[in-house]
Symmetry: D2
């Protein structure tokens, strides 16, 4: 399988390279960057020395058309401009940005401040959350790879939503992300001297992952879902935890909810429902494609609390993208994704 | 003012020493530790070299009776065993542990697994949250210095509670604390190699600060308050953020809630209501006695979100203890507490 | 290949498990711990959930004799007590502790404060630094896996030593290690609240890796080497950097020294001589078995500076142990060791 | 005393504000920044809310001439352009950048790539390292505040240099700095996701603090000093450690060297010679103006090792600047500089 990566200089790009370096069926044939043309990938990312001889090249549609699959690790708007010419040559497209995540383009344009020109491609698109959209992914040509918060929160929330056990009017997701989620662009706020040894909420004006979650939750629930989402920044590089609070609509015990989750995910290779009484830590998934979940039903309370952790760059981005690639090409879903989390 | 500190080897002890080193009216005359008897304070804590010549001594009630005020930076149970003999000599007692925080001793004994022997002292006790118990503190002989989470959460929540603007049945506090909150005892879970670069919820079996908050919130509200509290551990040393979610019972705008808070705290030297649209960061209070708050009323939601940050060792422990000492002795409340937060 | 691990609860134990989980020729058949008997490995280390069904068992020589190779990730003294009974059954022994590192047992006993009872085994022992002892390793039954500092420093220093280009009387190694090097034992000094946001030299009374380096350097040089070694603690989990200073004995340019190193390591899969002008960063090897080196010949100075980085838990411990296992069993040396460093 | 600060948006600027907020004799009357004109200081640095009502203003020489002292926390080149017009009005100038550190302007121009236009001011200039240039500072109008590395290294080295006990031909300083030393400019290399959990040497092409140290060491020694300096970046915000290696020229014991240092610094309020056997940690000086030193004379070695720590933003920049201000105005040198280091 010949792989192209468009826009490989950011963290999701280098993470794709890390994962694909040990994928038995994939070979990265080209990786593009306008700004770094001619620079060896291994000069920019010395962790890759010895694994890749590639240099960054200017994106060229004709060359990309010779690939079997092209990943877009670009800013929003790039994938939609190149996807059609790739798909018509039979190349599969996996976009790690947001171009193909939302179906409601009015909402998309409001949040992304950009005209959306790819509506006619939507019949070929699937939302790349395999645990809930696997059938659609298998038949699709273009994958809108989910955001990191939506991945972690929806995996944590959907069994309760689909069972009809919780009140859908007022769900709260208190999210926490490591700083790699902000990307590799130079910014004062993400300097080590600014973000270390501090913790804060951010995104008071609204986070783009909120409309994504609302649309997909409504699809799965069959009706609108009221969700309040407050993201926070954690002084660490990788990892994301979401604590999700919902009010029980039906009286169910901790054990019943635990059983619901274990049943929902029993065949899923990348969702781990931890034993009752556990609480997941982000280091349990650092560098791995796992999502680990725990359920907590506090005494004397109408609430259920779900805690969900992923590595934002793996299951929250590049690992899930490779998982989608495996599905698209009929490979076992875990191919190349068996990394054990790095602990300590 | 002659000050004694019982149990000065932990983080709240060294923080008392740091603050009192520059307090113009206080002199630390003795500091006790059974395990470190004879060790110079400045040998154990070299940041204090040049500020203190004191050595740790074995706790001796007669010597402590010569002080004007004694701080207990000890495990639970110590202050209640020595307070009476100090108070009867006119010595003020400020307990940084939990012996005098709760009035309901059944609840206390359930959570602290210890017999409480100090009930007869309660007429002399005040709960040391100056913003809400200042009058009682002025008249008291013994101060139960609040826990760090209760300080941050109650300062964030009480204006809404007292105004009657929120539904008291289901409030959520999603708390996050740096690791100094776990104290200076050797433990695997708090090793740098375990807690760095990771984030997790903890305390699934219940946190001792929950009954403290429920009792005090009920006192202030005049009725029981339903509170779900999930604490999390942040990979940083100092600081605490709480994101508090409540459902509006009365329709109020962001601006009205902002005005409520600004009015509530306009004369408080250590509570800073940040401008609308702000979000506090823990580094804004690192090493200082400030609590900084922000209010957020998300669109299309029945909720209000309050974010509140303190330094868990200062306003959450030793700084608030000194603030209480100032009140007890009729000093300006800010005496010795004007440290600017260390940023970056 | 059937693998046993004795003493698997520490960081080198869990790191062996992480690496061996994806080794195509090895299966971990038993892992021992007296204190954790019956506990599932994946309960203690949840990053391993889904990879191992093993529980810790009490060490049992008869059972260990059924393995092909046994790793000792134990305190000093354990491997020497069990090695003989294993070797006589044809089991290979790889000790990650220091029992088989030093040949001079007087020196060993002085530094390790323990009687050494394994002298008669020394004909079967090799020092497990493959780049310099590969032939001996192939023929050995017992491997003394090197310390982390010796691995990084000797890989950085030996080309100059063997070329005779530097003065051997006064070499300086200024070492820096992440905190995982101190192991998983509870200690106040390694608490997150103590080691974060701080940097210090340690080991003023002498570090056990110094006699190990002096013995091996003398073996390679054919004469005694004067080495001053000052280790420092870095506020990070993994990784080690050593800056090595030596005085040129022969006038050689930066380019000549660069060529010497590139030649010395041209066939080594796990030593990367970086281009002239580079400086290695520990994150370039995080989670990988690589050692990355750079040479720097400052202007107007008689010195050469070598900077060398490894992951202390991989090339500095468990990865190198697996590399030695591969050599012992005639496998390609890189088998199971192709992890790309986790960056960012 | 009326204080002006030119260029107050960087880390040395906010640190001056933090220190001066509690200085009893100084009032900050103006603070300038072209880019942030009109922005409230407390909006940019919320740790200062409640301490300052000032807004950033455009630098205006006439207004600055109304101050008693002006600090330049600017890039190199600004102070030299404004100093003359201030000095002629009797305003003292303290430059935290490098304009007045070096006397050899050829060297200056080589390293700073900038024409130096202030040579005629040099008779009014002193190098602001009080421990060695106090008399000159008292008489000066302009202070060249030393770099952070020179402060830490020269305080550590000069007693041995002045005693003539070490070989001056080949001294090594292996320096380590937290990331605040790189300033508040947005850069990829200083992002939290890049610098956290990693350690590296930097500045292979030479560091500007090297010529500064060579000039001042030569002044103090009366002859040229051979110094090799390799700086490293530590994943922490504040603090700096230097391990300095020199060869003894005269046989002296650890105790004799210890006595030399204790004598050299016995009256210095901001240099702490730690007891024999100690090793300083950067957290022992975090937020304080202290330099803490320890001496180590390894067995079987011709070397002496000095380890020296400071907070790079305090004794390495803004604290030392205030110390110089105190000297210039005849105040006790410790005025406003009695902060205890923040530990933990």
């Amino acid at each position: 399988m010949k792989v192209g990566i468009v826009g490989g200089t950011g963290y999701t790009g280098v993470e794709l390279l890390r994962i694909l370096a040990n994928h038995p069926n994939a070979e990265v044939a080209m990786i593009t960057s306008r700004s770094e043309e001619g620079v060896a990938v291994a000069d920019m990312y010395p962790n890759l020395r010895g694994f890749y001889d590639l240099c960054f090249s200017v994106p060229d549609v004709e060359q990309l058309q010779t690939c079997d699959v092209v990943f877009f690790a670009t800013p929003h708007g790039v994938a939609m401009s190149m996807a059609e010419s790739l798909v018509k040559k039979g190349v599969k497209v996996i976009d790690l940005a947001a171009d193909f995540r939302l179906e409601d383009l009015d909402v998309w344009q409001k949040w992304y401040k950009h005209e959306h020109t790819g509506k006619h491609l939507f019949p070929k698109v699937a939302y790349g959350l395999p645990e809930y959209y696997r059938d659609a992914i298998q038949k699709a040509d273009i994958i809108g790879n989910p955001g990191c918060y939506p991945t972690s929160i929806m995996l944590g929330l959907l069994p309760l939503v689909k069972a009809g056990w919780i009140d859908l009017n007022s769900i709260i997701a208190d999210g926490k992300s490591g700083v790699s989620g902000a990307g590799r662009g130079a910014s004062v706020a993400m300097l080590g001297a600014e973000m270390s040894e501090s913790f804060k909420a951010y995104g008071v004006a609204g986070h783009r992952h909120l409309p994504e979650m609302k649309e997909k939750l409504a699809q799965q629930a069959g009706k609108d879902v009221g969700l309040t989402f407050v993201p926070h920044l954690v002084p660490m590089i990788r990892g994301m935890e979401n604590s999700i609070y919902a009010t029980m609509a039906v009286e169910k015990s901790q054990a019943e909810i635990q059983a619901l989750y274990e049943s929902a995910y029993q065949y899923e290779p990348f969702v781990d429902v931890m034993p009752a009484g556990s609480l997941p830590e982000t280091r349990m998934v650092k560098g791995s494609n796992m999502c680990r979940l725990a359920i907590y039903r506090p005494e004397d309370s109408p609430l259920v609390v779900v805690t969900s952790v992923i590595d934002n760059l793996v299951k929250g981005a590049s690992g899930q993208a490779v998982q989608n690639m495996n599905i698209l090409f009929g490979l076992p879903e875990t191919t190349g994704l068996q990394q054990v989390a790095l602990l300590p």
